[in-house]
Every structure is written in structure tokens, then in C-alpha cells.
């Protein structure tokens, strides 16, 4: 029995005696006219023991330092038995992170890691926790949300924790640094970058005559894209693009951001003003509208339907995230599946100019501004260092690594398709780090772009409305 267990037991027995004494004082007098027979002494003692054990369980656990970690990515304990390899989907986000946290706890028995798993994106819970004055010590959030919490002083710079762990901010990739640096301070440990990619069905591309050797022929201009899409539809009878269009906002906005960046358009002249009704934006929306009007895309699918639709060979290119690479690669390796030996993935082709880039976001671990002991700060630092050291493990999910040495390592580059997308960890761009409410702005723009693409509003009107609504939001920020 270790020291803390002995302390706990002694505390429990002491409390049991005191509570038993209190109960005897509270007992009703037998002379009272409604008195019931007095409870037997042993019953009171047992009740006291139970209460004391309950209180002891709530007391600090001696020499173990407790910190709270909150994460998204789902719950999969049934699939990942404690300290064992995952039973299935070993490259899934949840499986990898559950395994990593188990390993941290095994390797750091002096740290008691209390893990909260919250549903994506987790901000409602986090806001409620902050409002109640009880935020977790370390929490995974999107890089695009860091400005919201940073500007209100809800998170602290992680630079001191990284310094303590011997991690230099220069060790991260450019895209990762952009996502967490605000005014020369890192406000999070970058865990990954993710973006939208072109997931390509090479079997259908070959049928349409759009393969050169083992590589797909990608367009370099809107005109080429439309020509290829028409050729594809004529040859296969299927739409060129598979897109999630129903119950969707984020994808439209990410497409717009990527191709605005491709045209080197400055759409945030300052963090509180967005400019959207521009020739650059109209060109992009016009292209997607034409694709929609000509039936060169799937139309009535939501995210699950589109993800499954591409898997079933319903179209040539799926505009989906980095996290889908593992799922589709597994299908490509499975004989008899529509994607068998027919899958590759590429960054968005540069359609409007020579600059190869993409809008990227990412996940980061941030540290909340709350009172912590020196031991807890040390535990936080060790946890961040552990995550930094295991950046390769996380990159198996398909997300881009944030540690430069991992992005350059053979281990990473030999994973399927990583050589095709690794350049994004250099060329990818986030929004300016001072822009707040990026999620809300993304929703507003996506809302309006859907209206424009499907013809419920003119492109001009939709972009004007998106600009007005987003600027109204930014204007009224405190």
C-alpha cells in the first residue's frame, strides 16, 4: 500500500467515527410521541463508513498531480482496450489519441490525467466551463478559435511550457506556426494542420481519359476544369465532383478561402473587416455555380452521403478533408470495393493563378488561464512535450504534421500519399491570427455561398450579404 492509500484509509476511518458520532446526536429521542425504534448502532456506523469513503474518494490523491485534459475526436474505449493496440481502425483519430493518452499515463504514474471527451467541436461545453470558472487545464481546440480565447485572456501563452520542455517554436512547420502564433507568442501546441483535398477516383479518371501514366491530369484554369468535367461526365455518365451540399457550410467557405489565397487576394484588410464582393470572389463562386448548373457535381448529398458516395464510385473528385485519407486508402487496398486500386489524393490545383496554396486550419492544445500549482504546471509541460514527441503517430490520421522534422522524415513520407500533400505544411495559409469568430464567419459565408451556387440569390447579392453579415458580426465584437 503506498503512502497516499494509507493516508486515504486513515482519513476514511477517522471520518467514519466522527460521522457516526454525529448521527447518534441526531437520533430522535425515544420519549418523543412519534418516535420509531432507534436505529441499531451498527447501521449508523456503516452509513458513516460509506459517507467517509465517499468523502475520501473526493479528497486529493496524495502525491499524484492531477490535471484535466479535454479533447474532441470521439469516444472509442470499447475499441481500444487499456494498454492494448486498437482492435480495429488503428489509424483513426480517436484510436490514436486514446492510445497516446493511455501511454502517457503509463509512462507518467505520478500524473493523474483526468480526461474529458466532448462532442465536436466542443466549444459550447468549453464556454460553459469558463463561465462556471472551471475550465480544463489543457484542451484541444481549432487553431481558428485561438483568437477568440486569446483576446479575452482565457488561455495563456504556451511558450513557457514549451521552453521548459526544450521545444523551440522554430521546430514547427510554417503552417503550424501561423495557426498558433499571436503577437510573437505561441498560444497553443500545434498538433496538426488539416485542409480540404482532392480525393480522386483514378479508375473513373482513367475511363474518362484523364490519366497520364499513374497520375491524374489536373486542371490549371477554370476553363480546363470545366472541359475536363464535361469530358468526364460524357465518358462515365457520372458527375466530376462529389460535394457535400446539404446541411453544409464549412466546405463552401474553405473552397472560397483557398481560391482567394490562390489569387493572392487580401480579403481581410484588417482583422475587423472582410471584403468579399470582389472580382476574385465572383470568379470563384461563378465557377462553382456553373459546375452546379451543368450537373457536373452531385447536388443533394450531405456530408455522410457524399463521403459514402465517393467511396461507392459516384464521382471523380471528392472535395474532402485530410482525415479521410486513411478510410479511402483502406478501401483502395480492399479487393472488390469500388475504390480498389483506384484512389489517390492531391492538394487543390491552382486554378486562378500560379500560387500553389490552400486554406488550412488545425488542432492545437491550449492551456487555460487558471490557478495551477508548480507541480501541475510541470505536468502540463510534460504532457505537451509528450504530444510533441508523438506528432508522427498523430500524422497517421491523414492530418499534416506540425513538427518540421516529422514532415521531412522517411517514416512520415512513406505513409500513403503523404509525399503528394506534405507541401501544404509549407504553402498552407490560415486566416490572419487576429481574426475572431472564424467559425461564425465561416457559417455566414457558407450560408450565402450555397444560396449563390444553387441560384437562390445572385452571386453579387450573396457576396454582398455575406460581407455585410460578417462585418456586422466583427463590428459588434467587444
Amino acid at each position: 500500500m503506498n503512502h497516499s492509500a494509507k493516508v486515504g484509509t486513515g482519513f476514511a476511518i477517522g471520518m467514519a467515527k466522527q460521522i457516526s458520532g454525529l448521527l447518534s446526536l441526531l437520533r430522535v429521542s425515544p420519549t418523543h410521541r412519534f418516535a420509531v425504534p432507534p436505529p441499531r448502532k451498527r447501521g449508523g456506523m456503516w452509513m458513516g463508513v460509506c459517507l467517509a469513503l465517499g468523502l475520501a474518494a473526493c479528497s486529493p490523491q496524495g502525491d499524484r498531480t492531477q490535471i484535466t485534459v479535454q479533447r474532441i475526436f470521439g469516444e472509442c474505449r470499447a475499441n481500444v482496450p487499456k494498454d492494448q493496440a486498437p482492435l480495429r481502425n488503428p489509424d483513426g483519430e480517436c484510436e490514436i489519441l486514446t492510445g497516446l493518452i493511455d501511454r502517457f499515463q503509463r509512462e507518467n504514474p505520478d500524473i493523474d490525467l483526468k480526461v474529458n471527451v466532448v462532442a465536436w467541436p466542443g466549444y459550447d461545453q468549453l464556454s460553459a466551463q469558463y463561465a462556471a470558472g472551471d475550465p480544463p487545464d489543457v484542451v484541444s481546440i481549432h487553431m481558428s478559435s485561438i483568437p477568440d480565447y486569446q483576446v479575452r485572456g482565457l488561455i495563456v501563452p504556451v511558450t513557457p511550457y514549451l521552453d521548459k520542455a526544450g521545444i523551440d517554436a522554430g521546430a514547427f512547420t510554417p503552417a503550424a506556426r501561423q495557426g498558433v502564433m499571436v503577437k510573437d507568442a505561441a498560444y497553443g501546441l500545434p498538433f496538426d494542420n488539416w485542409t480540404q483535398l482532392w480525393h480522386i477516383n483514378t479508375g473513373l479518371f482513367r475511363q474518362a481519359g484523364l490519366m497520364r501514366g499513374s497520375e491524374p491530369i489536373l486542371p490549371h484554369s477554370p476553363e480546363e476544369l470545366l472541359a475536363q468535367a464535361r469530358q468526364f461526365k460524357q465518358a462515365t455518365g457520372k458527375p466530376y465532383l462529389v460535394q457535400s451540399m446539404i446541411n453544409e457550410r464549412a466546405a463552401y467557405t474553405r473552397n472560397l478561402y483557398t481560391y482567394l489565397m490562390n489569387q493572392q487576394a487580401v480579403f481581410f484588410k484588417n482583422p475587423k473587416q472582410i471584403t468579399l464582393n470582389t472580382p476574385e470572389a465572383r470568379r470563384i463562386v461563378g465557377l462553382f455555380k456553373q459546375i452546379y448548373d451543368e450537373g457536373l457535381t452531385t447536388r443533394d448529398q450531405d456530408y455522410p452521403a457524399a463521403t459514402q458516395g465517393f467511396l461507392n464510385g459516384q464521382g471523380g473528385v471528392y472535395l474532402g478533408g485530410t482525415w479521410l485519407i486513411g478510410t479511402y486508402e483502406n478501401e483502395a487496398q480492399t479487393r472488390g470495393q469500388p475504390l480498389y486500386e483506384s484512389y489517390t489524393v492531391k492538394p487543390y490545383p491552382a486554378l486562378f493563378g500560379p500560387k500553389q496554396t490552400a486554406y488550412v486550419d488545425g488542432h492545437a492544445w491550449v492551456v487555460s488561464d487558471r490557478k495551477r500549482s508548480a507541480a501541475q504546471d510541470e505536468a502540463v509541460s510534460r504532457f505537451l512535450k509528450f504530444l510533441y514527441d508523438h506528432n508522427y503517430d498523430w500524422s497517421r490520421t491523414g492530418h499534416l504534421p506540425t513538427v518540421q522534422s516529422v514532415a521531412e522524415s522517411d517514416a512520415y513520407l512513406n505513409l500513403p500519399h503523404r509525399r503528394d500533400i506534405v507541401s501544404l505544411s509549407h504553402t498552407g495559409q490560415t486566416l490572419p491570427p487576429e481574426v475572431q469568430r472564424q467559425f461564425a464567419i465561416q457559417d455566414i459565408i457558407g450560408d450565402e455561398l450555397f444560396s449563390a451556387i444553387t441560384g437562390h440569390k445572385t452571386i453579387e447579392q450573396a457576396l454582398t450579404d455575406a460581407e455585410r453579415r460578417a462585418n456586422d458580426l466583427l463590428f459588434h465584437l467587444l
Partner: protein, 293 residues
Amino acid sequence: MMSPKARREFGNFLFVAPYLCVFLWLLIWPLISGMGLSLFKADLFGGASFVGFENYSRLLQDPVFLQAVGNTFYFVALTVPALAIIPLFLALMLNRATRTAAFFRGVFFSSSVLSVTIVTLIWRMVLMSDGGFVANIIGFFGFDPIPFLSDPNLVMISMSIITVWWCLGLPMMLYLSALQQVPQDIYEAAALDNTPWWKQLTHITLPAISRTVVLVVIMQCVLQFQLFGQPQLITQGGPNGASRPIVLFIFEVGFRRWDIGYAAAASQILFAIILMVTLAQYFVASRREGRGR
């Protein structure tokens, strides 16, 4: 010194005091503090500044909010009559002591016990234009799929169908309990006079359960003005804002934009709308009842 009557009344007050305390603490106090909050520019983490009625004037010029108000009224107009009439006819058909009636009472009530998440999952599979249940059936007959969830003219009707399917159990049960209170001897007398069924319905049944009809209508109005889960989970208020109700607007403004002063002002407007509609129905029903006497 308290008089015996006052002491007795104070004793009575003690019986309701626990509930009253909870009511004041959890309902009245938040309501008042919400009214106060609506006069401030504030975000979730403080920093409030007093702006008077500016939030209200912003709301009245905000086309997104005005569209949400219109959507909400449209939804209430679609669902409340359906939820007042369909359960009534179900209750009339199932108000008999047979095993078949008991079975169908259970069947029609069963949807009400499902959570909104399950309901939306089921209906997503039914209504999706791409591979949904309805699309497959009409596709079998050679017709194009109907864009239930992506056409702004259809999306609120789809939400109404989902909501009526989900919510008709409780009004049906209320009607059934009311029908079982109607004295059987009136029906027996009517049967002796060979009164046709529709005359029995309009001259005996409906007058006898009129209070329950008013209750159902008021209750459904209050509930349906608070539409949130279905559009939040199926369409996120789209397409083109056509399925965004007031509560979803409040959620987006309060929790996504952290603009809680503005969200509180929208909440007060929703509260006022529900209060006015409910009071109007109550007074109309009371006056009609008074004239009936």
C-alpha cells in the same frame, strides 16, 4: 401577533413555499436578468456595456432575424392546426376498449418518446434526395427525387411533417383522456334518437372537450414557437435561411458569436410573441365559452 386566519394562511403558504422558491430562482430571476442583459452589449465572458434599446433596434433591421421570425410563424401555422386536428381524429378512432385500439394507441404514442436526435436521423434517411427512402420509391416509378431539404419552398414543410410525426402522441393522449370524461348516457340518448355520427361529433363531443382543444392549441403554440432541434440537426437553418427559426437564431448569435446581449434581446422578443399569442387564444376561447353559457 398573528390572527388565527393569518396563521392558517401562512401555514398554507409554507406548503407552496418550496416550489415558489425554485420557481422564482430558476424561472423568474433568469427572465428578469435576461431582460436586463438585453440592454447591454456583452459577450459570454463579461465586458458588458449599457446600450439601452440598441439591440432591439438592430434586431428590427436585421434581415436574418426578420426572416427567422417569418419562418417561425410559418412553421407554427403549418404544425399547430395539424397537431390539433390529426390527434383528435386519432383519439376518436382509438377511443374504444379493444386490443387493436390499445395497440395503435401505443404505436402512435411511440414516436413521442424518441429524442430529437433519433427523430432527425430517421427523417434524414427518409427525406434525403440522394438515396433517401422517398426518393427511392418515387425513383422506382420513374420520377425525379424531390429536394425536401434543399429547396427553400419545401424545407419548412418537411420540418412540419417531421414535427407532426414526432409530437402527435401527447395531444392524442390528452384528447383520449378528455373523451373518456364525456358521459356515455348522452351518446346513448343520441343513439336512441338516431343522431348521425357527425352530429354527435359537432353537438356532443366537440363541445364537451372544448377546454382540452384550447389546452392543446395553446400548448402546441408555445412548443412550436420554440422549434430548434430539427433544423439545427438536419439543415442548420438552410437553404438560404429558409429553415432558421428564432431559437436557432438565438443559439447562433449567443453561442457561436458570443453576442449574448443581442441574443437576449431576441429571446425577449420571442417571449413577447409567445405570451401575446397565448393570451390572445385564451381570451378568444374564454369569450366564446362565456357566450356559450
